[in-house]
């Protein structure tokens, strides 16, 4: 019951914001086009937030996702150009896309191995790799972007009337939701986050599972990176600066606990949509991006405060 209520809270706020915006700007906000636009914009952040959710449930954190996004995009675009020349098409694009995703997998794996084998805090390790990944992205083309003018499918393509990036987003939501809820890996993720020592004593291979979780997040960042690259038809070494904060915000607004053991994919998606809709609404209402930052900051604090209040209340009821 209380679990349901906690899910309801961010969902309720999302609905409320949509209603307010719909009332204020019915002709621009309440259109299919704008709706798809919001979803498309959410897809990159949303896909990464799904990975971050699993990490935060395991009581970890990954600060390197923004830099990783830049690195994957750069590596993918570089490969496209190396294989297919200055305006890569067809096969070269496919190879580049796959390689970008593989780089994400490798980055996530490196994070996981460093955290478990060196027994370092995830915060420290990913703070380090955040800097290192960013550095590599700059070094690759001396700080310049790679332009891939024909790489449009992931960013702008449409499948059955729905943007391709949104289709990918939905498929990943379904898969990750299933894995977290029904797979043994998902179950162990909750157990490790709830009480790592207890999980270890119950026979969970904590290190191996953590490496899986960070690698999985790397994979998702790789996919998101290729979508982002395609959207701007170029890979920027400056892509995703401070992105990790937006991602963590979405996860936390969605009800996950930084202490671990708690969080859902549904919550995170609602959190990510909440931020996107707010941004979109503010833009439509002509509110400056500067003010948007203030609003989002307050929402984060408010969401967590209300969630905490709800938790103490339910605990009092149980006692």
């Amino acid at each position: 019951m209380s679990k349901f209520m906690r899910q309801l809270l961010p969902f309720g706020s999302l609905t409320l914001i949509i209603c307010i915006l719909a009332a204020l700007k019915p002709d621009t906000f309440l259109t299919m086009e704008n709706f798809m636009n919001v979803l498309r914009r959410s897809s990159v952040n949303g896909i990464i937030a799904i990975g971050m959710t699993s990490i935060i449930i395991s009581a970890g954190i990954d600060l390197s996702v923004g830099s990783m996004l830049a690195l994957c995009g750069m590596a993918g675009a570089y490969t496209m150009i190396a294989v297919g020349g200055s305006d890569p098409q067809g096969g070269a694009v496919v190879v580049g896309t796959v390689l970008g995703v593989v780089v994400g997998i490798i980055c996530g794996f490196v994070n996981g191995v460093l955290i478990t084998k060196l027994k370092l805090q995830p915060f420290i390790v990913t703070l380090g790799t955040m800097s290192a990944f960013r550095g590599i992205s700059y070094v690759m083309n001396s700080g310049q972007p790679y332009n891939v003018p024909s790489y449009k499918y992931l960013g702008e393509g449409v499948m059955l009337g729905i943007p391709v990036s949104v289709v990918i987003f939905v498929i990943i939501i379904a898969m990750a939701g299933f894995l977290l809820r029904y797979s043994r890996l998902g179950r162990y993720t909750y157990a490790i986050g709830s009480n790592r020592e207890a999980a270890f004593h119950a026979g969970v291979n904590v290190d191996r599972n953590l490496i899986y979780i960070y690698t999985f997040t790397g994979l998702l960042v790789g996919i998101a990176a290729m979508i982002a690259t395609s959207r701007t038809v170029s890979a920027q070494p400056t892509a995703g600066i401070a992105l990790e904060l937006d991602i963590i915000a979405a996860v936390v607004i969605g009800g996950a606990s930084l202490a671990g053991g708690r969080g859902t994919i549904t919550g995170t998606i609602i959190g990510a949509l909440l931020i996107s809709v707010l941004r979109n609404g503010c833009t439509l209402l002509g509110i400056s991006t500067h003010i948007q930052l203030i609003v989002i900051g307050m929402i984060i604090i408010l969401a967590v405060a209300v969630d905490q209040l709800a938790q103490t209340k339910t605990r009092e009821l149980q006692a």
Binding site: R184, H201, A202, G203, V204
Partner: protein, 508 residues
């Protein structure tokens, strides 16, 4: 009469007089009508089995708990304490087993923690004065300690001296020491005794809690024995010997509390050979037959839990082997141990047992998802049914398998963990203090459960600090002392006194 010091002190004043102290926690009567008097400038030993009420008594003295009834007089003046600060202010200092020192600060900083001398500028601390006064205090008692040393770099024995100086800096006249020697080496113990004797000479009273009875005979002036929350004896140490103290401690009849045992142990199932680990256990060997419940006794810090951890793959084995059903096992992690059919119910339910925020069913199945046919993908309906079935089998009281674990009582949480190992189909089950912190009814259920498991032919190792329960349900009792196995006794042929003697008395 045996020492001249003793008779000189017979006319000294009374430092502490606790009268008619009663305290209950919910339905549990921890102390009833306890009176306890400590003379000035003496070492007063407080002994008793686990759960006898020693900690509760000294925590009342230190202002941690409020007594339900009774009064406290310090140097003949009555006091009531609501907070530990108030007890500290009138000269009562506690030195807990884990010492409560800030590890990264220096000795001097610890001594004046929360009580720092002010520097010249506002909000600053006069470091020089701190170091000087620490050195001065240490010097006046002849303690050899460097005030500038960082605590984490000191030996445990030195840390204890720091804790004592900290007490002295607050003008303590009564110092409570809780199991001060449990983590000390022999030489450090000797040094600590010297320190305690110097304190006594300066007129400070020491309340000394220890399980090690030979220490008490050598050090204390008076001894008070607690049993089941009551004072059973209080006398000058010179009039007692170890055997008498043990008799006072355990002198309780075994009631009909323990279920009848009717299992004929079969063949040897488990053989532990020459087990040593990095964490202080040396050369431990024993075997357990199928259907046999073997108890393990020993004092806190004797290495019982470490034996369990080494077998279960939590701690690295330095040497030795474990044989189960005639096959030698290679175990490097709990996961290995579980797949070999070993279970460990850990001593600390909250820290190493339960994932508290998660559902009961999740906690029950976590160790056996593969065995239950859910190797990769979990079937929640099936999982729920399995959890509900095993819950019913152990009559766990819950709102259902989906209820969060923290909504269960301690006893039901413990049964939940036992259920976990039932599902894992373990053949060799280690129970480390399974009845700690659960109520009497739940204890009884745990005992019958152990019996049922033995009837199914499992080999059971039962670690406990409570002698009555060891005698109530085991076939054999192993005794540990300082990391070694010092006794392997048939339960029917031994006595609580003999076990206590083996566990507590150093044979040289």
């Amino acid at each position: 009469m045996s020492t001249s010091v003793q008779s000189d002190r017979s006319d000294t004043g009374v430092a502490l007089r606790m009268t008619g102290i009663s305290k209950s926690f919910g339905p549990v009567q921890a102390l009833s009508d306890v009176s306890f008097t400590v003379r000035e400038g003496t070492v007063h030993a407080l002994v008793g089995e686990n759960g006898a009420g020693k900690s509760t008594l000294v925590k009342i003295l230190a202002g941690v708990y409020r007594p339900d009834k009774g009064s406290i007089q310090i140097h003949e003046k009555p006091y009531t304490f609501d907070k530990p600060e108030q007890a500290l202010a009138v000269g009562v200092s506690m030195i807990y087993q884990d010492l409560d020192l800030a590890e990264h600060l220096t000795a001097a900083e610890n001594v004046f923690l929360g009580n720092e001398p002010a520097g010249i500028l506002p909000f600053t601390v006069d470091h020089k004065a701190m170091v000087e006064r620490t050195a001065e205090l240490a010097g006046s008692f002849n303690f050899d300690i460097d005030p500038a040393a960082v605590v984490s770099q000191l030996f445990t024995g030195d840390c204890q001296v720091v804790a004592i100086i900290k007490a002295l800096a607050r003008n303590a006249s009564i110092i409570v020491m809780d199991e001060p020697t449990s983590s000390l080496s022999e030489t450090e113990v000797a040094r600590l005794f010297e320190v305690v004797r110097r304190l006594r000479k300066k007129g400070i009273s020491i309340i000394y809690i220890s399980h090690r009875l030979e220490e008490i005979i050598g050090l204390a002036d008076d001894v008070t024995v607690l049993r089941d929350g009551k004072v059973v004896h209080s006398e000058s140490v010179t009039k007692l010997d170890i055997a008498q103290i043990i008799r006072y401690m355990v002198g309780r009849e075994l009631t009909e509390f323990f279920p009848a045992r009717d299992v004929k142990p079969g063949d040897v199932r488990v053989r532990v050979n020459n087990l040593s680990s990095d964490s202080r256990i040396r050369d431990v060997s024993f075997d357990i037959r199928s259907g046999e419940i073997v108890g393990m006794a020993g004092l806190v810090g004797a290495g019982r839990t470490e034996v369990a951890r080494a077998i279960f793959g939590v701690d690295k084995k330095a040497s030795g082997s474990i044989v189960l059903d005639n096959a030698e096992l290679s175990i490097n992690s709990p996961a290995d141990a579980i797949s070999c059919g070993i279970a460990l119910l850990t001593e600390d339910r909250k820290r190493t047992g339960l994932c508290l925020g998660l559902a009961c069913s999740w906690n029950v199945t976590i160790a056996s998802l593969g065995l239950l046919g859910m190797k990769r993908i979990i079937n929640p309906a099936k999982e729920n049914k399995i959890a509900a079935d095993v819950g019913a089998q152990l009559s766990i009281k819950w709102l259902g398998p989906q209820a969060p674990v923290d909504s269960l009582s301690g006893g039901n949480q413990q049964k939940l963990l036992i259920a976990r190992w039932l599902l894992a189909k373990s053949k060799f089950m280690i129970f480390d203090e399974p009845t700690r912190g659960i109520d009497v009814g739940a204890k009884k259920e745990v005992y019958s459960l152990l019996n049922r498991l033995a009837e199914q032919g499992k080999a059971i190792l039962f670690i406990s600090s409570e002698l009555p329960e060891l005698f109530g349900i085991t076939d054999r009792i192993l005794v540990m002392r300082r990391g070694r196995l010092v006794g392997n006794l048939k339960t029917g042929d031994t006595t609580q006194e003999e076990v206590m003697h083996l566990a507590a008395v150093e044979v040289s």
